[in-house]
């Protein structure tokens, strides 16, 4: 039935070819259970409604243009950043953190203050606290780099954006792809 429901979803989203759609519609006509499933799915889908986004104000692009110009003047313009460099840097950072964890035990032992360690137990990398935080926030698996940033900059709650700007977000959904 799950396969059928996925096909129904494809039908609803217009992903099927004309021929496939016609075949499925014919099946829906003759199958009460399938028809009920389709009606339920369609009703849920069509009930989703959000307001049309506001038109972008005229000054929006000017503001961005000015900011980009400023970046350029500060020498922060577009610079090629080869992927291999980022990969090597990320690997080095992760390796360093793993070694730090293995050699130093917990973050608190590695020199963080007790106050920081009290921040919701994020920094007790004993597995349990981090997992409970992940489950609570539905954050998906936190990378070691993320835990590191959470621990050293708890005031600003920085994440390692450079690692995720282009990469898809991770999820903990069962059976789904974990990019």
């Amino acid at each position: 039935m799950n396969h059928d429901k996925r096909q129904l979803m494809r039908l609803l989203h217009g992903e099927l070819t004309t021929e496939e759609a016609a075949q499925l519609e014919a099946r829906i006509e003759g199958d009460d259970e399938l028809r009920a499933a389709y009606e339920h799915l369609a009703s849920t889908w069509h009930s989703l409604e959000l307001p049309t986004p506001q038109p972008v104000p005229l000054e929006f692009s000017n503001k961005i243009g000015a900011a980009a110009k400023q970046q350029l003047e500060l020498g922060l313009g577009p610079l090629p950043a080869p992927r291999w460099f980022r990969t090597v840097a990320a690997t080095a950072l992760s390796t360093g953190i793993i070694l730090g964890l293995l050699l130093g035990g917990t973050f608190s032992e590695a020199g963080l203050t007790a106050d920081s360690a009290l921040q919701a137990g994020v920094f007790q990398v004993d597995g349990l606290k981090v997992e409970s935080l992940q489950a609570e926030l539905d954050l998906g698996p936190l990378s070691l780099a993320e835990i590191y940033w959470l621990s050293v900059d708890d005031q600003e709650l920085l994440f390692t954006e450079s690692a995720t700007d282009e990469a898809p977000a991770t999820t903990t959904s069962p059976g789904g792809s974990v990019p």
């Binding site: 986004p53 929006f60 903990t172 792809s177």
Partner: protein
């Protein structure tokens, strides 16, 4: 990911992006003009907060400016822009969630309250009377509530499919996942959502 026929089509954004990579501010302005409505709209649908969405879109465009030289053609440029925007919004949502969690429910958190202050005016909403407008607002509120309850991966897929009208293939390109994964996430998201009749029960 297999190559799509689209990749062999000429993408005018690619030439513009090449010039942006060389530091051409005018080309950057052209790129912003071509995609600002789309990206601000996406951020608004992800964040449910118009002002925050505009700030986010601005940051996204500045990231695009900085990263123009790192772009590697693997589909249309707009899917790359979407990818940066989606991941930027997901990062903001994670921070928002974390801040809320660490504040232990203190008042004045960063989570939008969906009150009138954050409800955008819908130019297409020509409801003649207050009752219809109120009904629309209720539906928006309910949709936001349901979307907010989804895990980030499902939320991104649902917003891109339902509100940005992207195909499975385009969503797969944006999120750099397979079409099968798009289908799975969308299906699971739909299983979590409740039909209107269920909400009334």
């Amino acid at each position: 990911m297999t190559e799509s026929p689209q990749e062999h089509e000429h993408d005018p954004d690619r030439d513009i992006l090449d010039r942006v990579a060389g530091g051409d501010i005018e080309s950057f302005a052209v790129l912003v003009g071509r995609h600002e409505q789309r990206l601000v709209g996406l951020c608004e649908r992800m964040l449910h907060h118009p002002e925050e969405a505009r700030d986010a879109a601005q940051e996204v465009f500045l990231k695009v400016f900085r990263k123009a030289g790192t772009y590697r053609p693997r589909g249309k440029v707009y899917t790359w822009l979407y990818r940066i925007a989606v991941n930027h919004c997901l990062n903001l949502l994670r921070r928002r969630k974390l801040a809320k969690f660490l504040s232990f429910g203190e008042a004045g958190g960063t989570q939008p309250d969906y009150g009138d202050d954050h409800t955008t005016f819908d130019p297409e909403d020509s409801a003649p009377d207050a009752e219809n407008r109120l009904a629309s607002k209720r539906r928006w509120h309910e949709t936001r509530r349901q979307i907010d309850a989804l895990p980030s991966g499902q939320r991104a897929v649902l917003v891109l499919a339902k509100f940005e009208n992207l195909s499975y293939r385009e969503i797969a390109e944006v999120l750099e996942i397979t079409e099968g994964a798009v289908e799975s996430r969308l299906f699971r998201a739909m299983q979590r959502l409740r039909a209107p009749q269920e909400n009334r029960e």
